[in-house]
């Protein structure tokens, strides 16, 4: 059993490594593009609201804490605590998605959603329109991709919760909880990188 636990967690680490490369590729392309067009980027940063970003960061960090506590509960055979912590983690995950929803809605209203007809307009700084569009596409791609991982995470948590309710976990066998915990932490960490990159660095408050 111990060897299976080791294998499963190691396997999850390797999988997360591939995810890092995947997100890393996106981060890399975005960084290249942003350094090619610094003024265009400065003009788009006015539409990124660090408040939403900070709120989401706090939500995710707390959810990682509750997830770690859930894993610990499983390890200590505290079944009720395990279920409660899982629920709280999922609740925070949902909060994240809701806040993100509000944020996307604001972008929609501000006409900053490219590709979908009718919600893109950059007339306030037309000289940057093309580059800004690409930057926004990157923004939606990266945060959207992250959100998808979040939704998958919620699905995983639901499964784990149901398994916990059925009493499947014990101090001898709680591998799925541990492995899901790793996944959840990863989703959190990706956000920790997204937040400064998209919201904080080079943020200006004026449209050029």
């Amino acid at each position: 059993m111990g060897q299976q636990f080791d294998s499963a967690t190691f396997g999850m680490w390797v999988f997360l490594l591939t995810e890092i490369m995947f997100f890393g590729g996106m981060f890399g392309a975005y960084t290249v593009y942003r350094s090619m067009y610094p003024e265009a980027f400065a003009s788009t940063s006015a539409y990124m609201n660090p408040l939403y970003g900070a709120l989401n960061t706090a939500v995710l960090i707390v959810s990682s804490l509750t997830m770690a506590l859930a894993v610990r509960s499983a390890h200590l055979d505290k079944q009720k605590a395990l279920q409660i912590f899982l629920l709280i983690t999922m609740f925070f995950g949902l909060c994240f998605l809701v806040i993100k929803g509000f944020e996307y809605h604001e972008h929609w209203v501000d006409m900053k959603v490219p590709l979908i007809g009718g919600h893109w307009n950059y007339s306030e700084a037309p000289q940057f329109a093309h580059q800004a569009q690409i930057l926004f596409i990157f923004y939606f791609f990266m945060t959207g991709f992250h959100a998808i991982h979040m939704i998958v995470g919620l699905g995983i948590m639901t499964t784990i919760f149901i398994m916990a309710r059925k009493g499947r976990f014990s101090p001898i066998y709680y591998t799925p909880v541990e492995v899901s915990g790793l996944y959840w932490h990863f989703v959190d960490i990706v956000w920790i990188f997204l937040f400064p990159l998209l919201y904080l660095i080079g943020h200006t408050r004026t449209i050029l």
Partner: protein, 343 residues
């Protein structure tokens, strides 16, 4: 039945490249013979002679490993060094090189000369004079390749690429597009004719019917309304372009850039990208879509001529640059270089 095994060498750099290639081949042959020979000898000498033979294991040898790692690496460094030398030479056209402009477009090469001559899929150059080709693409990535001169450079849309050479042998040589570019990629071929100076002079005298590139550029400058803001004799709404080319300009953000071909091209297509200090964005319109790459090159040559015309000693009356070959000066200009264009 033709069976060529080696391309002609028709440029100053070609023989250097060929020597390096021969060196690489020799080293490879020696390495291969050593390895294959050793294996061959071992395979025979140590073939199994009886079924219960059990050779003594030999684990390894630090000294051998280090030796056969370091020595090959040192040999590779010689490849690297020699190759880098040639690469550097290829990357730096001499300042006195004559200009030719080539635009790649699916699926043809359009050549323009400062004197106004235009060719399709043909390039005429003189012997013994460095030639610098400014490359532009109208559409996809192409690559300008002249095997006999051992030069190649990709032609990437969106900016200018530069290739230069010094042809040393008269003849007619293949020009190939070397980057897959669609249906007729293998049809995007042509000929480079290297001529003796006298023949070249005759060919040039044929001239371009539309005037020199600078003159064509000047016409475009008028037609497109550039002259409305960029006045030649006084300050207008836009920067005065006299003496702009080749100077260092300060931009609104504080940094300085060199006003070269690429800068001029970008300023025409994307005026807000690099605005000179003291001017404002959103005043000059973009000419994206209104100009072909050839037209932009003509404007570049025209603007270049505005700078040279004011160099000390140059005639001020005409805006035509002194470097544009006038038939009278040609023979003198094309006299073979005494130093042989040392590379």
């Amino acid at each position: 039945m033709q069976l060529p095994l080696w391309p002609e060498a028709a440029s100053a750099i070609a023989s250097d490249v060929d020597h390096l290639y021969i060196y690489l081949t020799l080293v490879s042959v020696v390495m291969s013979v050593l390895i294959f020979g050793t294996i061959f000898v071992f395979a025979i000498k140590y073939r199994r002679k009886s079924e219960d033979e059990t050779p003594a294991p030999i684990h390894g040898s630090w000294r051998l490993e280090v030796t056969w790692s370091i020595i090959p690496f040192l040999v590779m460094l010689t490849f690297f060094w020699w190759g880098a030398k040639i690469y550097f030479l290829n990357a730096t056209p001499p300042p006195e090189a004559m200009d030719v402009y080539a635009v790649g477009k699916q699926w043809m090469w359009k050549l323009q000369y400062p004197g106004g001559q235009r060719e399709i899929n043909e390039l005429h150059v003189p012997i013994g004079r460095p030639v610098k080709i400014t490359l532009a693409s109208e559409d996809v990535i192409h690559s300008f390749f002249i095997p006999a001169l051992r030069v190649k450079h990709d032609v990437v849309p969106g900016h200018y690429d530069v290739l230069w050479f010094n042809a040393t042998k008269a003849g007619r040589y293949h020009l190939f597009c070397a980057e897959y570019c669609g249906t007729e990629h293998s049809g995007m071929v042509g000929w480079v004719t290297v001529m003796n100076p006298a023949d070249y002079e005759n060919w040039l005298a044929g001239g371009g019917s539309a005037g020199t590139m600078a003159q064509q550029g000047e016409r475009l400058f008028e037609q497109l309304g550039c002259s409305g803001c960029h006045l030649v004799d006084r300050q207008g709404r836009g920067p005065n372009l006299r003496n702009l080319y080749g100077s260092r300009v300060q931009l609104t953000g504080g940094q300085t850039v060199l006003a070269d071909d690429a800068y001029i091209r970008e300023s025409i297509l994307n005026p807000n990208a690099k605005i000179i200090a003291g001017y404002h964005p959103n005043v000059m319109p973009s000419f994206q879509g209104q100009l072909s790459e050839e037209g932009i090159l003509q404007l570049v040559v025209y603007i270049k001529s505005l700078a040279i015309a004011n160099a000390p000693g140059a005639p001020t009356a005409s805006l035509l640059p002194a470097i544009i070959p006038q038939p009278v000066n040609l023979a003198r200009r094309l006299a073979p270089q005494q130093d042989g264009g040392k590379q």
